[in-house]
Symmetry: C2
Subunit: 604 residues, 2 copies
């Protein structure tokens, strides 16, 4: 061992002891004839004192930043103590030292406020990981891993590994594929999740399964998506939805307790999918703050009676009109409201404008559409929106889905602006009763909102079995019996981020076939892709269900960040590249030859 | 929840309680007017008693094997107790039951002595996993996983995930590659191990790292190899070899204690590579038994002086002559010795014959080469082999490597035959001081015996730095200074199986470059493949080393098996196929098109 102690453990109890430390040179400060060196390792920083004689040798062979050294000497009480660090009461009077390895001057400083840009730090990720911020992120990640395992172990779950080289059955996202050399012309796929395997494990009787496991999706990367990501993957047999909600409410609370020392005592709020969309505009509500939506008009129906019979074309032709009420916003300046109008017009939001009503402290009301409404009528609308004196009502209108999405974004922006989204506050929500299907306009067919293995609510099974999934009248797809079948599915949402999702699964062959058929798979395709699962359901498949959590996301949120990249040791950039390794890269002709594939550059 | 209790927990303390169980029908036994059903789940088996009335309903709708049912009733003490199972004191008097799912008749019986063949059980793996043997294997695997994590956690290791989509740098085994859609014409590789990443983590200062992680090798599969396998991967900084041996001796003993309740108290035996090869013929000795080799002649040098000046051409022309001494083997019949001769002639062993000396209980000696040696000379050879009266000496001769390998196999066979390889006995060995290089005849160059990141022993570094790696005289490669450079490397061996291996790594750029050059990599190739690592070594890389254990193998050996396949939930067959999924398989033209690759069937 190159050391007797770490750089984080020495204190006054070690006074006068002879010790050896090893670590990295953080700083070198010459102070007259002597030299102070801060030595850093994973555990902390210790001050080394080089006496006059040693300082002379340093003059000849200077220590540089990030040199790796080993230093032996006596621990000594400092007169000038540093109370900010655990080792601040002592220093090491160096009697001898060895340079274990030198370092070039690092391309950026190894400090919290580093001077390195993103690209540079990604290229030198091994240096960036030396910074205490990233080190703490890795520590937190391991703590979440450990807490998850401990809880699930206590609950009788077994970690069972599922394969990585599986069969390509793309549904939704693209698979990464792996050419097989031994079976030329054929490919494995990397799993998008262990979904079918965990279901097979339930059929096998394992009853409580989990894994913390890498998954792969070949998607065009949006910001903060990674082609490989980690999931806490869980499944249980002989359970109903309520059992799963209880079990994993327990898990997340255990993680909060173990990792953050937060006692999340109250039951996790539960919101149905339709309530969530109605009140927050989306299915992953940030419930740290209110600013709930006011539904003035929905899909052509005026909900707020005061809108009836007005002559305001914009409102009259809009499918949906939604508002949020900003407390004390009535004194927003013209500049401020103009900025909000510009904000909703940005391509990411894509609205054509923003209407507003200001309800003054003096009970006067003003709006951006004064000429179509009397003051009395504006008062009524403001009252409908539960506005108090001094409030500002922001109104968006347009097509239902687009408007709802836009106002949910506006709500988040206003929450941010008003300081209502404290990253040290945590609010969890279960969202449940999702629609089972979504309508796919292009194919005029159904797609699975969650995945094809999710069961309908028990009360909706007969509706699914007894109706033809075919959509004969595309314009009125909403009237098809499948449109309002609810899924036996649930998401866990933390501060507006979906951190987990799951469902009770289908466990009967006939219902699974009906589901596949609804998604446009004929019998041949079903057999080719999922024959093994349909087969397994015929040999005593128990009722079962499960959930998967986004492990990277949970770590980032507990760390107070929205970026998962800082919580992954070696992440990829938005082009899916590892800039440190310079991967992906070309491979040898010999490799292509052995795999019996050729490049076929199409410049698509 | 579909149950109040599991099928493994009810006993007399639950007598008269109303409970609900759910599980699989193991057996149905009609007994006059009543019916007994054994209900099985992961936790055990409980006997259900269906009364006359319910038995009548069963007559109409019979329960079949592997039906999934839910049964409610009262727990009742049995008159006829079964002491073999934990629930054997009670039965459940069923008052109502529900069939949760039916089952076809399974293709093989779900019992320890199943009637299903290998292929069939692989295809229906989800049913095979219901058998208690495979269930116990998965339980043992999880226990090893858990023990490993607990020990390493106590020792301050952090689990840090490394990427799966990395760069192809094939050295030795082939990489599996993954075409990148976003970077057309380029490929990721799946890791053969996280080797370079764990070294970068040491450079980053993480100091104690571990992972239980999937690795991938595209090799032609020998029996009991899998294209994807699991490794316990560990690395430490600021350590010497001794620190690593201590740390991981602790790990394996902890696993033995936790998983097998075995207190492996004595220190693990340590054998240098050359001693191992000298005494056992290989570098993974099974030390549960002796039968050490007798080196009569090695590489042309007679070690046993009695061989000098004899007229026996076979011995005289042989490069190497090795023997093992079988206690009490002198009374082997002609048939028995003939069988051994046939055995060594099998293509897997490939020797041309087997000589022997029988030292009778009456002190007479006989041999298969009597006419070349006097009885006195045979006595001397027998004495040299430490043979006692009644022993049989088996002698192989031929080229050094081949003969040594053959006799090590013969030793194992004889150990087996003599009942010296008890699968419930465990003997661990550290083998150390491996050669750093192996000679590659084809390329007339060096290859790394372990891997290119292994450091030479400190005392051999100057020999490596100060000599040219080029082999100018191929015939005398053994005289090249590199031939006897020792690696700072070590393997852990259990009962003749290598279960782990590691090394102190190179951490200086110059030495790493020298190593790459010795392996035939020019500067351009070094930069292309390992530029990131060479670069990292310039920024303060600490001394470090590590080890990786074969997780599947450890589980199999602790389970008393030599087959890893039974310890993997969903293994592949020898052709790398998952016969349950039917993977690998062809993929859609659309997928190939997006990846910009084409099939190029060459029928190689």
């Amino acid at each position: 061992m190159y050391r007797t102690h770490t750089c984080g453990e020495l204190n006054l109890s070690h006074n006068h002891k002879q010790v050896t430390l090893a670590g990295w040179v953080q700083t070198v400060r010459k102070f007259g004839a002597i030299t102070f060196v801060d030595l850093r390792d994973r555990y902390g920083i210790t001050q080394l004192l080089f006496n006059e004689e040693l300082t002379k040798t340093l003059d000849i062979n200077p220590l540089g930043r990030e040199f790796v050294i080993q230093a032996t000497g006596k621990v000594s009480e400092r007169t000038n103590k540093n109370t900010k660090i655990p080792t601040g009461a002592i220093e090491l009077l160096v009697s001898s030292f060895t340079i274990l390895n030198k370092s070039l001057v690092p391309p950026f400083t190894i400090q919290d406020d580093t001077d390195g840009g993103d690209e540079l730090r990604m290229k030198y990720r091994f240096l960036d990981l030396r910074r205490s911020e990233l080190k703490k992120n890795m520590e937190l990640r391991y703590a979440v891993n450990r807490a998850t395992r401990n809880y699930l172990h206590q609950q009788n779950f077994w970690d069972i590994e599922t394969p990585f080289l599986i069969k390509s059955t793309p549904e939704g996202a693209r698979d990464f594929v792996v050419p097989s050399r031994m079976n030329a012309g054929e490919f494995y796929a990397l799993p998008q999740s262990p979904q079918t395997f965990k279901q097979l494990l339930m059929v096998s009787g394992f009853d409580r399964y989990f894994q913390i496991v890498k998954c792969f999706r070949d998607e065009d990367l949006r910001a903060d998506r990674q082609p490989e990501f980690t999931q806490i993957d869980c499944e249980m047999a002989f359970v109903q939805q309520e059992d799963i909600l209880q079990m994993f409410e327990g898990l997340i609370k255990y993680i909060f307790k173990e990792v953050k020392k937060i006692d999340y005592a109250e039951p996790i709020e539960r919101i149905s999918w339709s309530d969530s969309v109605w009140n927050y505009g989306n299915d992953k509500p940030d419930t740290r703050f209110g600013l709930k939506l006011k539904n003035l008009k929905v899909r052509g129906e005026n909900v707020c009676p005061e809108l009836e019979g007005k002559n305001f074309g914009v409102f009259n032709t809009a499918e949906t009109i939604l508002a949020i009420c900003i407390p004390d916003g009535a004194d927003y300046s013209r500049k401020q409201t103009d900025e909000l109008i510009e904000w909703v017009k940005r391509p990411q939001i894509g609205m054509s404008g923003l209407a507003f009503i200001k309800k003054g402290k003096d009970e006067t009301v003003k709006s951006s559409f004064d000429k179509f409404f009397t003051e009395q009528e504006l008062h009524s609308v403001a009252n409908y929106c539960s506005a108090s004196s001094g409030d500002l009502i922001l109104i968006l209108c347009g097509a239902e889905e687009k408007t709802r999405k836009a106002i949910s974004e506006l709500r988040l922006k206003m929450g941010e602006q008003l300081g209502l989204r404290n990253k040290n506050e945590y609010k969890l929500v279960w969202v449940y009763d999702f629609p089972l299907f979504e309508y796919d306009e292009e194919g005029n067919r159904w797609v699975a909102r969650h995945h094809p293995f999710t069961a309908p609510k028990p009360s909706d099974i007969s509706k699914m079995i007894n109706n033809d999934s075919k959509i004969s009248d595309a314009a009125n797809y909403l009237n098809h019996p499948y449109a309002d079948i609810k899924a036996n599915a649930y998401d866990m949402v933390l501060n507006g981020n979906e951190i987990g999702g799951g469902s009770i699964r289908i466990h009967q062959r006939a219902l699974q076939e009906k589901m596949f058929a609804a998604l446009g798979m004929d019998e041949e395709e079903q057999t080719h892709k999922f024959g093994f699962l349909l087969g397994a359901f015929e040999y005593g498949a128990p009722p079962h269900g499960g959930i998967a959590f986004g492990f990277d996301r949970i770590c980032a949120l507990l760390g107070g960040s929205e970026s998962i990249r800082d919580y992954i040791a070696f992440p990829k950039n938005n082009a899916g590249r590892d800039v440190m390794l310079d991967a992906p890269s070309t491979i040898d002709e010999k490799q292509l030859h052995e795999l019996q594939i050729k490049l076929d550059s199409k410049k698509i």
